[in-house]
Amino acid sequence: MIRSVPRSRLFDSLYLAYLVAFFVYLALPLLVTAVFAFNDAPFPSLPWKGFTLDWYFADGSDGRTGLFHDDGLLTALWVSAKIAFWVTLVSVGLGCVNAVLFERIQFRGKEFLYLLMLLPLVIPGVILGVSILVFYSGMANDMSAAWGIELDLFRPGMTLVVMGQVTFIATLSTLVIAARLRKFDPQLEEAALNLGATPLVAWFTVTLPWLLPSIFGAAAMAFLMSFENFNTTVMLTGSDTPLTVALFNRLREGSTPVLNAVALLLMVGSALLALLVMGRSSR
């Protein structure tokens, strides 16, 4: 079934129908979620009662609280943003160092360490969360019981969430940055060294600019994955709940169009971030 092999009319139209059905399947859930963020009814379902922006802007005076007046959700959004910021910073930093380590340096046991690096990808997210909870929170409990030392840092909370997410996001950012470094021509760096640059200067003026697109790509990916993560996060979160966990708790109480409003905001945010990075890298 390649272009040069003749195909029948019927086959072609069936194939086309399948493609259309597939993309409808992909788009439909997101489309309805977005549309019902603007339905003037207290419940996200048909019939359509008209267009409203209440689910964003209503201040609670007429029984509706829009997203921008919903303190619980706004706080959760802020918590998520803080977590995503730290996760991005640490994962991209680790990714750069790891990429250089695995692409540029020869040492014994490299193959084995590379496999260790890939390990977090084949561990379910729940288990990553559980194991970090058991180790760190258990340590905090034991310390408190044995010596009365309070390690609040290791109690469920933002630090643990960041640690849990970094565990697997660092692997992904390493893969993205290493793939770019592999395509780099080492002769460029040698030229810089021959022209009198110190290794550090050569790294910052020649190699790092080459890596920048992949660094931005890895950062955007890390930010999105952190923001959207639920499975690892829910095990490690304390009283300051991030957005996905807060949304999940709301959803269990029942669905309101405010959830659609948040969902649409998240989708638009991710799409903008993705476009921004793609725009940068294509230039």
Partner: protein, 286 residues
């Protein structure tokens, strides 16, 4: 002098890596393994034992859910592969120019929303007061509201939806690099569609197939939101039981044992998949 500098830079680069792997991956998992073998005798005394694992095998609810989760994850992975392959083939081999890029980007759409949002979208569509039910009633095909949520089919629809992206991307990447002359040669030598697919296309795409399947399987096995929100009373998922032990019952020992079992199952199936297809983890993931 030179060697001591390179030794120093090796250690400088190695330290962050080791800190990450040891402190966030190895030690926590070893501790989880250790805790799973601890039996709490009273509030402050602990003995070693395999009570948690015995519970797993004696309480049928645990291992039934375990088997169910594994089987349904395998089925979902297979279904995702079957659904994604024609799409990937079209994007990689039949579409040209701009439409190729646009179709590929369109496949990434679900990634714009988190798993929670995707699941929520399906709930709006499938539930009793949902869109499909309303549409069917408007068409006059059914008399009253139809509940399509809270059953295994709904769970699988949601899980396949979550996995598709991770299947399409590696498939497109491997199929894109295939030489069409191979396919033509296959036809010229008298092969039918089936033979060409089996003897030429699938072996070529194997690294993509394996890597897609591994990722989708891991995601499905470890997913929580989709089965919990879309499944019914009888469609329990194994991750749910781990959450219950940790969050509602505070029984860390039992939770750790269930976690170890899930990890063993996933590692075993990934390892088997690699062995059977003759691939290595480095080749399909790195």
């Amino acid at each position: 002098m030179k060697s001591s500098v390179s030794r120093l830079s090796l250690w400088l680069l190695l330290t962050p890596f080791l800190l990450w792997i040891v402190l966030l991956v190895l030690l926590p998992h070893l501790q989880m393994l250790r805790v799973s073998f601890q039996v709490r005798e009273s509030w402050d005394t602990i003995a070693w034992g395999i009570e948690q694992y015995q519970n797993f095998f004696t309480e049928s609810y645990y291992w039934r859910t375990f088997v169910r989760t594994g089987v349904m994850s395998l089925f979902t992975t297979f279904l995702t592969l079957i659904i994604a392959f024609p799409i990937a083939w079209y994007i990689a081999r039949l579409a040209r120019g701009r439409s190729k890029g646009i179709l590929f980007l369109a496949c990434l759409i679900p990634f714009w929303a988190s798993e929670l949002v995707r699941t929520y979208g399906w709930m709006i569509l499938l539930r009793e007061s949902g869109l499909f039910s309303s549409w069917l009633q408007a068409l006059g095909w059914v008399d009253g509201p139809v509940e399509m949520l809270y059953n295994d089919v709904a769970v699988i629809i949601g899980l396949v939806y979550n996995g598709l992206l991770f299947m399409v991307v590696p498939l497109v990447t491997t199929l894109d690099g295939m030489d069409e002359n191979l396919v033509e040669a296959g036809y010229d030598l008298g092969g039918g569609h089936g033979t060409v697919l089996r003897e030429i296309v699938v072996p070529w795409a194997m690294p993509g197939i394996v890597s897609g399947c591994i990722v989708v399987f891991m995601l499905t096995l470890g997913s929580y939101l989709t089965p919990v929100l879309m499944g019914g009373k009888d469609s329990a998922w194994f991750t749910e039981q781990i959450f219950t032990q940790f969050i509602t019952r505070f029984n860390w020992e039992q939770g750790a044992a269930l976690g170890v079992l899930l990890l063993v199952l996933s590692s075993l199936i990934v390892w088997l998949g690699l062995k059977i297809s003759g691939q290595s983890l480095r080749k399909v993931m790195g």
